[in-house]
Structures are given as structure tokens and as C-alpha cells.
Symmetry: C2
Subunit: 357 residues, 2 copies
């Protein structure tokens, strides 16, 4: 009885021309991208979002990025085609991106203010809602693999710092000397930011939450991520990052926060995010996109657009997401200048994009 | 046009007798509790959920718990009455619970497997969606105060480990020697659990995710939390914990995870959770309750019941939440035997409860 009344009220709200729901919807997306449908599979990866305008990359550098994204994409997709799980595909692709110095994760991690590399990652299984997350790592070559071990080999979801690395030892996960993560380009980025900071400190700082972040250098927030749908209809999502250049005080962004940077649920969707992590945590971006599907029955692209182009935009954050639903529908949404991304299209071909196309 | 079609489809779904929405709703709550309405204020605290059956506490011990909860409740409520913010009320009450050895937060933190105390906390401002979280602390007397400093005095949301404590120093936040957190009862609990573990290791372990957690001693997962609504209509939520007895590998639960243990948004609700943290992270409990209000226009009590009694229950987790919406409506929901909790009722009087009443 009460249920009927409640449904009536909800219906009345939805029918009302004053419905917030009616007013808040963005313009419909022009098309709904899909992954391969026979068999139904889905695979998308990202390599970070930020100020990537056309012309800011040399033709040679752009080709290198495209080649690396293609390699990671095809490796994950090949795994799905051979019958491996969505979790396998996500881990395989992210490991390739972690091993590449071009992306801010694993080998290519940026430096903290202390001149260290601090790594975070998370992964989630849409079938069981099992999840694993790690933060504040200094010696783990592939954080995504440790996140998966936390999920599968421990009763926990999240482990941080030295404790997480002790767990890595018990699982025979590859540890490396801190020097492994040293790269000239990331070191130069840190020096540049430190120099800017020094120059700024002689002039008065603007007040407000974003005072230290008001001038973000290119690629300051990098992340890599992947979402997959396997032949059994299982979704998975994963995200890995080296954090932000010059970060202090053990700062953690959204990458290892389940619900913010990563979420997967077979009933709704799988999402991996990249961008200004603080804003993604405050909104709970990945979980919120899934909630719009769960509670409002929106498409994944529309759900993503509402969260990225309305909620995130309103709060002043930037970045983007990649997502898949259980039907293989693809969502790509970002409000930054560009986002390194690649997906397998409906015909089974790889599509690699960097700018707003 | 497309909006109209979408609304029509949603209406059809809601009207359908086969609607999952219709089938999944729990029985309606018997009554909707409210905080004081003139002026409209709201204040609720919790001191953890778990196996707290009637008779498991001596009369004397029960009285002590009730007195301590009352003291923290009244201190926060008095702050609200005097015009202080919901953030102030949340911090004031949680500090009192953190300073009390009875609750698993601050002074009363349980011991890790290494015989250390590892503290986590988070706080969120419903007006701005600003948030602060800290994890893996060993020397911060009041983690909730550090979480608030992260929110208000840094551009970040989350800081962990030594880095977070370095930040505490820059903010003149009180640090204490690790010995401060040593209490006989928590030490005895650790020894008991270690002894049980030793005895268990000689017999084969059950397989599965929860193998190490299948026999949870009383109060193994404790947390304290508070949610408040101030005279300006601003909601806030905060949570603080000493983690779980015998925890290993830098494990982090839901208390410092924005969206899992803590969430606040003036447009929907403020929630603080307590319980088996891994499950709360996987569901994103606090954020999910707010999402049901945001996207389905349910009451806060009903939203909480769906998440705790259906979603959490289905996954095998236990614990509970306290919540408030912007109208001062109160939600209290738990699927454990008991939850230490206290709130100010519609007549402005304190109500303290421990068991399923």
C-alpha cells in the first residue's frame, strides 16, 4: 500500500514540468558508442586527462602515445577474446601502461615534494563487488597487481604504506628499488614546479582551497585505467597512478578510492576516472555514475555526462572517465582539454584518441 | 523531446508491477524520527556497532556507556544551540569520544597485530562538499581535528601515514607519544585474538574472503561518528576509528573513505557509518544512502534501510549508520545486534540507545 503511494509520488515528480530531473538533463549525446557485440565484449583504457591541446604534442610524441595506447588496448582485448576475465584484461593493460615511462603510473610516476615516487591503485570486480586498493607505495613495480592481490588474497579492501608492501612480500609480488621509478623527464617536472613555487612564494598567494593548485603544469595529474566486459558478462575496472608532481604530506587522490576513481558492478557499470582527484572523491564520481544507471535508468554516456559536465564542472574540478555497461555500451566523458584514451569499437577495431575529437 | 521519452520510460518502469523498485522496497519504517524543529537542528552520534546483546554489558558498564554518550551528545548539541556550525558540533562530540578509552577511536584505539595503534578519520561539509580524511596515524591525539585541518587548511582531501602527521605539525595539531594510546583492555583484546589465531593455525582454515574474520570478537570493529544539522541548514558528518584488533598490512577500513564511512551534502543527507568496513567500502554506503534520496526521492530512513538491510545484508556485511537530512529527519539503521547511539529528539531531549529497542 505504502509502496503504491510512494510510486505514485515518484511518478508525479517525474511527470511534473518542474521536475528537477527534467530540468537538469544535459542535451542528449549524439551517439551511443558500443564495443563488439558478437560475442559481446568491451574494452577501454585511458592514460590520463589534462591540458592536452592539439599542437602541444609533436607529431613524433603523439605517435608514440598512440602506439603505446594501442599496444595496451590490444593486449587486454586479446585476453578477452581468448576467454580471459575482465579482471585479467584490466590488469594486463594497466601493467603495460605502468611499465611505460610515458604515463604517470608505475615506472613513469611523478615525484613528490621529497623527490620520491608514491604509487596508488585500485581494482574492482563487478560480479562480486570485491575490491582491492593500495596507496602510498614506494617499491611495488605494478601497483595494480598488488591491488588485485589485496582483493583476492586478503579479507581486506585497502592497504597503505609499508604495511601494503609487507603484504606484497607475502604474495611474491615484484618489489623494486626506489631508483627504478627515477626518470629524467619527471625529475625535470619536479624541479620546474619547485622553481615556480619558489618564485611564487615571494609574491602574495591567492586565498582559497585551490591556492597551491591554481597553476597546474601539463600532466600534473596523470592516471591510467581500464574497464572491461568479458564473455561471461562480467565487468571490471582498475586505475593506477603516480600521484601528483610535488605532492606533500602523503596526499592520496581518487585512484585508490573505491567509488571515486574506480567502481564496477555487473548490474550497472564499470568506471575508471582520471583528473583532479580531490573533486572526484568529493563527488564519488565512479559510484555516482553507476547510481544514475541504478536509480534513474539512464544510459551510461548520459550518466557520465551529468557527473562530469554538470556536477564536476560546477564544483570546479576537471578530468574524465571511461565506462562500460553490461551491454557493452561505452561511455567516454571529460571536461579537460584532452584525455588519452583507446577503445575497441563495435566492429572490433581499435580507436585511439587524445584530443576533443 | 528525448527527455520526455526518457521520463515516460521511467514512469512506465515505476508503474509496472514487475518493477524491481516495487519489489525491493522493505516494509515502511514505523515512524520517522525527527530532531528539534523550532529552531530546526539535528544531532546524532554513534559509538560503534557490533555484537552488543542485552545482558552482555553489566549494569554498571552500560550506565558508563550511556553517560559518556550523553556527555558527547549534549556537548555537540549545546554548540549547535549556541549558533556554532554543524562541523563544529561534529568535531566537538567526536573529540570527546576520541578522548574516552571506552570507544575504539583516539585514546581507546585497538591494537594492530604489531602491537601499535593506527588511527583513521574523516569529515565532510554538506554545504560545499569539502572533505578531509586521514589514515594510518600513530601520534595524533584527535584524528577528527586533523581531518578537518586537511579539509580547511590544505588543497587536499586525503593524507596518510607519516606525511599526514607532518602536516599535523604544520597546523599545531596535538601529537602524543604512542604510549598515550596504550590501554590494558585493548591490549588484553589483542592477546586474546592472537591466542585464538595461534590455536586456529593448528587446524585447517576455511577458504574464502572472510577466513580471518569469521570469528569476530566483541567490539572488534569500533568506530565513533556524528552527524549534525545547524541553524543555517548546513549538514556535516564525521567518523573516527582505531581500526580493528590485530589488523595487519596497513589495512584501512571505511572510516576515512569519503562516500563509504562518511558523506554529507546539504541537498540530500549527512551519514556516518560503523561496522565491517570492507563491505561499507564495496557498497559505498554513505554515498549510496544519499543517492537514493537524490535520485529516488526516498526518505532518509527508508534509504538507509535499503542499503543496510538489503544491500549490506545480501553481501554478508554488518554494521549500521546514523543520518540526518536537511529537514532534520533522523535515520538510524543497523543489522548488527546493537549500536551505541544517541540523538536529540523532536522535543530537544537526549535519547541514548544501545540494543535493538
Amino acid at each position: 500500500m505504502t509502496t503504491s503511494i510512494l510510486r505514485f509520488v515518484l511518478v508525479a515528480i517525474l511527470l511534473s514540468p518542474f521536475s528537477a530531473f527534467a530540468q537538469k538533463l544535459p542535451p542528449p549525446e549524439t551517439k551511443q558508442l558500443q564495443g563488439p557485440q558478437n560475442p559481446r565484449l568491451g574494452f577501454i583504457i585511458h592514460g590520463g586527462a589534462g591540458v592536452i591541446t592539439r599542437g602541444s604534442l609533436t607529431a613524433e610524441r603523439e605517435k608514440q602515445y598512440r602506439d603505446k595506447l594501442t599496444a595496451a588496448l590490444l593486449a587486454g582485448y586479446k585476453a578477452l577474446q581468448s576467454g580471459k576475465s575482465s579482471l585479467d584484461a584490466v590488469e594486463i593493460a594497466i601493467r603495460i601502461l605502468e611499465d611505460d615511462p610515458f604515463f604517470n603510473a608505475g615506472k613513469g610516476a611523478v615525484f613528490t615534494a621529497d623527490g620520491k615516487n608514491e604509487l596508488d591503485a585500485s581494482i574492482m570486480d563487478g560480479k562480486t563487488l570485491a575490491a582491492g586498493a593500495v596507496a602510498g607505495l614506494h617499491h611495488v613495480k605494478n601497483p595494480i597487481t598488488l591491488a588485485r592481490a589485496v582483493m583476492e588474497k586478503s579479507p581486506h579492501v585497502m592497504m597503505i604504506g609499508d604495511g601494503a608492501e609487507q603484504f606484497a612480500k607475502t604474495q611474491n609480488i615484484e618489489l623494486v628499488d626506489e631508483k627504478y621509478f627515477w626518470t629524467q623527464s619527471r625529475w625535470d617536472s619536479l624541479q620546474k614546479v619547485l622553481q615556480q613555487e619558489k618564485e611564487k612564494s615571494t609574491t602574495p598567494k591567492p586565498k582559497g582551497l585551490s591556492e597551491n593548485l591554481s597553476e597546474l603544469p601539463y600532466n600534473k595529474f596523470g592516471t591510467v585505467g581500464a574497464v572491461a566486459l568479458d564473455k561471461n558478462g562480467n565487468l571490471a575496472a582498475g586505475t593506477s597512478t603516480g600521484g601528483m608532481t610535488n605532492k606533500k604530506f602523503g596526499r592520496v587522490g581518487d585512484a585508490p578510492i573505491i567509488g571515486a576513481g574506480t567502481y564496477a558492478n555487473n548490474e550497472t557499470c564499470a568506471v575508471s576516472a582520471t583528473g583532479w582527484g580531490e573533486f572526484f572523491i568529493r563527488i564519488g564520481v565512479a559510484r555516482d555514475i553507476c547510481a544514475l544507471i541504478e536509480y534513474r535508468a539512464l544510459t551510461i554516456q548520459r550518466s557520465a555526462d551529468i557527473v562530469i559536465h554538470q556536477k564536476l564542472q560546477k564544483l570546479g574540478g576537471d578530468g574524465g572517465i571511461i565506462g562500460l555497461d553490461k551491454f557493452g555500451n561505452i561511455a567516454i566523458s571529460f571536461n579537460s582539454e584532452g584525455m588519452y584514451r583507446a577503445y575497441i569499437d563495435a566492429s572490433g577495431k581499435p580507436v585511439v584518441q587524445i584530443y576533443k575529437d
